[in-house]
Symmetry: C2
Subunit: 132 residues, 2 copies
């Protein structure tokens, strides 16, 4: 894995750290300063524009879930990249697409969509552990 | 709206035309030839790699839903762009993120995620018509 992929994994982890721990300042800094950003929270419509996106996170981070990012996979094309990953909340999980752009200050989040996926199969997880 | 945004709207429409009408050849051509593409169908995990992605569509297009794209919004950064839109299937609807890269042959789809959103409020739609 080259450094760009590692950087993308790191900023994606920082996003889930801010999410899980209700760090609204860090969350605001992870998102691009560009006005043209967007977000689709599970079950919501689309939220478009930096002010609306950051406001949507402030309401979520006031009472944050314990959320854990699992199996992140990175895809990079030039100065754009995205990460797909599972979001584990207790025994439930969602699946997400996080789009980042490489800006002067590094990778910045420009779009997030999370939605339901099939539940965690704990037996599948433990059998995978045996294989690896 | 400049020509890139119009091109993105057009390829996104072609995607939903192929989807709704079960056109598997057109669907295959809309996706990038790049091996590193991905797809998250509603309720599924992630499908990664061109062969797996195209195969997943073949099974869906064998019995395609009547799906209509509504309210597409485009976001472009250099040679990458994405569209967020609603997917209306009868009275149900999903919300999607479609990521495209600009390649030699034009915009090509590299990632699609669709998930549940709030249902269509027909009264909301008709009241909007009155306002506009």
């Amino acid at each position: 894995m080259n450094s760009s992929h590692q950087e993308l994994i790191a900023i994606n982890s920082a996003f889930y750290d801010a999410f899980s721990n209700g760090k609204s300042t860090e969350m605001s800094e992870i998102w691009s300063e560009n006005e043209n950003i967007s977000c689709i929270h599970p079950g919501w419509g689309s939220v478009v524009g930096r002010i609306a996106v950051i406001r949507s996170w402030q309401s979520i981070l006031a009472n944050p879930p314990k959320i854990h990012c699992a199996n992140p996979q990175t895809f990079i094309n030039d100065h754009s990249g995205y990460v797909i990953c599972f979001e584990e909340i207790g025994n439930n999980r969602l699946i997400a697409t996080n789009i980042f752009h490489y800006e002067k200050s590094g990778w910045k989040l420009v779009h997030h969509q999370a939605g339901v996926t099939r539940p965690i199969d704990r037996s599948e997880k433990s059998s995978k552990k045996l294989i690896h």
